[in-house]
């Protein structure tokens, strides 16, 4: 079966900007809250299990034939790397779909490792902000990208609340967005777990149906409340993500943005998009009315003036 873009339901048939503008709002509004595909897969990342071995990074590199790393994957000095005056740790790039960073648990002093990659949102901001529909949320849960239609505006990078997409800026002819695709083509659609999950020695990454993972996550918290922070990061953040996290230290101490909204980013544009049909419907009549009112009176007075002369 072909991948379904959920927005594909609303096929726009009329050309012309006004028709398009109306349809775009219809899409934003006609949609009831989207809870994600029922059989969406996901990954639960348990930070308490991650030992920072970077095997997932190596597996990802191999799976996707990414460029040779500058530093071997078994070299842990990368955890000491900081950028921009220490304000930024390593992040995903045009040669890495995923990276693991080390944080220090301020209370216990023990290191905490956190893997980052695309979280595969239920209602992704990259997808909804893309004006050429280069992104697709597959029914399996992956958010995949089609470089063949991408114009390179990088709106998705601006929109991504997790700052995941990277761009191959140094390519003159084929620049494109580079990000984790949940191993969609090579594994996920064949029913296999992503390479990183399979490689993880600790099963810090648990692969399964998103709804089952939510159950598992809450069960882990319930059965060991002293160990875990009582929150499943990604269950509701920005409308829910396919990749979710459990942690033993407060999420904001290990690089998570805990200020994110709990509804899709797309919702933020609705107050404006609601205004679009009003403008299209009301403006022409209103301004033509203004025009008639303001010019008819004037023409008459102008005539009178000229007559008087």
């Amino acid at each position: 079966m072909r991948r379904i873009s959920r927005r594909g339901f609303f096929k726009v048939t009329a050309a012309g900007s006004s028709a398009l503008a109306i349809s775009s709002t219809k899409k934003a509004f006609g949609m009831k809250e989207f809870k994600g595909y029922p059989d969406s897969m996901g990954v639960l990342v348990d930070l308490t299990r991650c030992i920072g071995c970077r095997t997932c990074e190596a597996a990802c590199n191999k799976e996707h034939g990414l460029p040779e790393p500058e530093i071997p994957f078994d070299d842990f000095s990368v955890f000491d790397q900081v950028f921009h005056d220490g304000k930024r740790k390593r992040r995903t790039s045009d040669s890495a779909y995923t990276v693991v960073n080390r944080y220090d648990d301020t209370s216990s002093g023990a290191p905490v490792y956190r893997k980052i990659q695309c979280n595969h949102c239920n209602e992704p901001a990259c997808l909804t902000s893309c004006f050429v529909n280069a992104y697709t949320k597959t029914k399996e849960g992956a958010v995949i990208y089609n470089p063949d239609v991408c114009v390179g505006c990088r709106m998705c990078m601006v929109a991504c609340p997790f700052r995941i997409p990277a761009y191959s800026y140094h390519s003159a002819l084929h620049p494109q967005i580079i990000k984790c695709n949940f191993c969609y083509d090579t594994r996920l659609k064949k029913g296999k777990p992503p390479a990183c999950v399979e490689a993880c020695p600790q099963e810090a990454l648990t692969f399964g149906h998103r709804k089952t993972l939510i159950k598992i996550a809450h069960e882990r918290i319930r059965s060991d409340p002293d160990k875990y922070v009582d929150h499943v990061y990604g269950e509701t953040e920005v409308g829910g993500t396919s990749w979710m996290y459990l942690s033993s230290v407060p999420f904001d101490q290990v690089g998570f943005d805990t200020s994110l909204q709990h509804h899709p980013i797309l919702d933020n544009t609705k107050s404006f998009l609601g205004f679009v049909p009003m403008v299209l419907g009301i403006w022409p009549a209103m301004f033509m009315g203004f025009h008639l009112l303001s010019t008819r009176g004037k023409e008459e007075t102008e005539k009178k003036v000229s007559e008087n002369k």
């Binding site: 349809s23 775009s24 893309c130 529909n133 761009y167 140094h170 943005d257 025009h291």
Partner: protein, 451 residues
């Protein structure tokens, strides 16, 4: 040009027929402003501003070629945290509001019938057209695959995206503006049928202009609603960002017309018709009134925005100081200065304030799109080559702007008379020439100083 006018009694072409012999001007002569090729190029070389432009192009054009040869990474920091730089921050976010002039003056003159502003209408329309056109040029530099610029129109539709709306609206509005300005072009190339055709659709084009402008000016602000948390809360507002952008584009467009008309009057008065020059003072004051109203409205909704999102605490931070500086210099001070200028009927003060307001607006747009972006992460200063390209394209904008103003009947009225009439009004023509010569003489002396 002033040199030629003063020393050689040169008269710029402003009519269909050569007043000396009654012959129609050839296109070539029109392009050369009625000068011989050698005179024209001497004139070009004499102007020091051309040397400045030449220097900018000498540096900038190779950099632009370098950008296409090596990819964006060659001229940008290639930052994943700051995907957008000056090309969009300045080229799109600043150029578009500053080009709102077209629809504003179109509405005022054509729709509301305020004929008082008619002499500046074409300048406002041209300013709008070129602003949008060069916003697209900036886009062509910034896009990773500029050769796919038409994709959102014809290849793949991301209809739910705000950027889709912006793209379509800028494209259609650009066509509308080309049609609006083409009236002047058809006069110049002497194609009255086409002019008449376009003219008959003026009201339709104007209304289309209002609709498209209201929507995409606002949409530009809504683009940043995709990045809540990345844009500083003082500049971000989910409910109001589009109203901020729409409202500020009103005074931005007006102030840009005041600014451009000022530059035009100071540097190319020889090209301005008497209708334009005589009415510019009252028009400027009239425009200032409109701008002040928009500024006051903007200030009020900005304050409502802060109250609505309860952002008072942010005002005491460093970002808050920066925010208040932007509002103080770019909104409150202009309101005060405009009010004084209008009351005292001081065109000079109004013009100064217009420039100030433009700076304030640019500060606002750069703040939302660039400076306060990633406010809690780290700040990034754009790559020097990015600035070089931005300046180069702006210089190109000025060059094209000037090229068109020199030729098309934007600032002056195109005179068309039948050949029979030409003979009969020969006397009148000579008196007009004398008048114009006097006018040009004074203006020429004024502006010879800096040249």
């Amino acid at each position: 040009m002033n040199h030629l006018i003063v020393n050689k009694g040169y008269q710029p072409i402003d009519s269909l027929n050569n007043p000396d012999n009654g012959q129609k001007w050839s296109l070539w002569r029109k392009l050369l402003l009625g000068l011989s090729p050698s005179d024209y190029f001497r004139q070009v070389l004499r102007n020091p501003f051309n040397w400045v432009l030449g220097l900018i192009f000498a540096i900038g054009l190779p950099v632009i070629i370098y950008r296409y040869a090596t990819g964006l990474g060659g001229v940008m920091h290639a930052s994943y945290d700051y995907p957008w730089g000056l090309f969009l921050g300045f080229g799109l976010f600043c150029m578009v509001p500053l080009s709102a002039s077209g629809f504003l003056l179109g509405t005022t003159v054509e729709l509301f019938g305020h004929k008082k502003f008619k002499p500046i209408l074409r300048l406002a329309l041209l300013n709008g057209l070129l602003g949008y056109f060069f916003a697209v040029v900036y886009l062509l530099v910034d896009l990773g695959c500029p050769w796919r610029l038409y994709y959102p129109m014809f290849v793949s539709w991301g209809t739910a995206a705000v950027l889709f709306l912006v793209g379509w609206h800028v494209a259609t509005y650009l066509s509308v503006q080309i049609m609006e300005v083409s009236e002047a072009f058809f006069e110049w190339v002497n194609w009255p049928t086409a002019k008449k055709f376009i003219h008959s659709g003026t009201i339709g084009l104007t209304v289309a202009g209002i609709i498209l402008s209201t929507l995409h000016q606002g949409a530009l602000g809504t683009l940043l609603c995709y990045a809540p948390g990345k844009v500083h809360p003082l500049w971000y507002s989910q409910e109001f960002l589009w109203i901020f952008y729409l409202c500020s584009s009103v005074f931005a467009g007006i102030c840009m017309v005041i600014a451009v008309s000022t530059v035009v009057e100071k540097t190319m008065s020889w090209r301005c018709g008497s209708e334009f020059l005589d009415n510019l003072g009252p028009i400027t004051i009239g425009l200032a009134k409109g701008a002040t109203m928009a500024l006051v409205t903007y200030l009020v909704i900005k304050i409502i925005g802060i109250i609505h999102d309860n952002e008072w605490a942010y005002l005491t931070t460093g970002w808050g100081t920066w925010f208040m500086l932007e509002i103080g210099l770019g909104v409150i001070l202009p309101i005060i200065l405009f009010s004084i200028g209008i009351r005292k009927n001081s065109v000079g003060l109004v013009r100064f304030t217009a420039f100030l307001t433009i700076l304030g607006l640019m500060m606002n747009r750069l703040n939302t799109a660039l400076i306060t972006f990633n406010w809690d992460l780290y700040q990034e200063i754009p790559h020097p080559l990015e600035a070089v390209i931005t300046v180069t394209i702006f210089a190109l904008f000025i060059t094209v702007y000037r090229f068109i103003l020199y030729r098309l009947p934007i600032l002056y009225t195109w005179k068309t008379v039948s050949e029979e009439e030409l003979v009969s009004i020969a006397d009148l023509d000579s008196t007009q020439t004398q008048q114009a010569a006097v006018l040009v003489d004074t203006a020429g002396k004024e502006s010879l100083g800096p040249a």
